[in-house]
Symmetry: C2
Subunit: 188 residues, 2 copies
Amino acid sequence: MSKTKVKSNYAPFPKPIALLGVMVEGKPNFMNVAWFNRAHMDPNLWMISLNKFHYTVKGIKENKTLSINLPSAELVKKLDYCGLVSGRDVDKSELFTIFYGDSKETPMIKECLVNVELSIDEIIEVKDQYLFVAKVQNIYANAEILTDGEMDLEKYHPILFIKANPEGFYYALGEQIGKAWHVGKALK
Amino acid sequence: MSKTKVKSNYAPFPKPIALLGVMVEGKPNFMNVAWFNRAHMDPNLWMISLNKFHYTVKGIKENKTLSINLPSAELVKKLDYCGLVSGRDVDKSELFTIFYGDSKETPMIKECLVNVELSIDEIIEVKDQYLFVAKVQNIYANAEILTDGEMDLEKYHPILFIKANPEGFYYALGEQIGKAWHVGKALK
C-alpha cells in the first residue's frame, strides 16, 4: 500500500454529466456540464460551477432559470458535440426536440429521460468561475422509466465522466454493489 | 417521449462518494460525502457541501484542512458504516490505516487507492449547509494503480452513489462508452 504523489491538477473521480439548457438572446442553448452536485436538502438546492466566459452564463444571469437534462448512453455523441462548440458560433437549438415546463422560458430536451427545471437562488464568484446555487422547481421523467409513478433508477442509463490527463472519457453506470445506510450495519 | 412530473425533492443522478478525513478534537475522523465536485481549474478548487450539524465541520473550521479519500468497491461496508455513525458517538480512527502527507495534520486512509489533501480557501454559508471551497494540495495514489507514473483510471474501482426515494444505493463504474472532445466530432 505504498503511496506516490501524482499530478495534482485534476479531479480523478467520476462525475455526473448533463446538458445545461438556457435561453440566450432569445434562443435555446445547451452546454455540457460535469461540475455540479446537490448542495442543500430542503429546499432542494444544487451547486453548478461554470467558467465566466461561457455563452450560457449570459443567459443564466438574464433569465435566472436553467435546466439540467440527464442524457442516457445513446445521446453520447450529441452530448460530446455540445462540449465541442459554443453557442456563440453554432446554433444548437435544432439538435434536440425542445419542450417547456412550468417555467415557459427554460428549454428542456425531450430525448433526455430526466429533466430538471431550476431557478437561480444565488450567484457566488470564485475567481474565474461562478458557483450558481439553484433551486429545483420541477423534475420531469419519461413515462418509460417510471415504476409505480416514480423514477426507476435501473431504467435510465446515466452517463459518467472522468477527466484524466489530458483526456476525458464517458462511462456507463455499472452494477449495484450495496444498499446505503444498510451494508455497513454489519460493522456496528 | 411523454413527460411526467415526479417528486422534486431529490437529485436523481449518480454522485461520486468518498470518505472525508479531518482531525476533530485531536483525533482523526471520517465521514462519507457525496455532495462534492470540482469548482475551478487553476487553482484546482473543489466544492464540498456539508450540513452544519456534522461533527466533521468543527474539525474543518479549526484545522482549515481536510482529505478526500476515494474508496474502491471492496471498502463499501466500511464506507457505509461511516455514514451510519457520528464521530460524536463513535471513535472511527481505528477503522482504517491512517497516514499523513505534507500537511502533518490531515488524516488520510491507506486502504483508499486515491487520497487528496486539500486546504480550505473559502467557507460559504447556504442556509443549513456550508459550501467549502478547498484547494487541492496533493494527490496520492497507490503504486498498483499507476501506469507510467500516472493514475490509471481502469485500475481503481470508484464507487458511485444514487439517492432514490427514500433509499440510496452504491454502484460500480461501468464500461467506457466514448472519448470526450472526440466522439461528437462526427456531428461537426
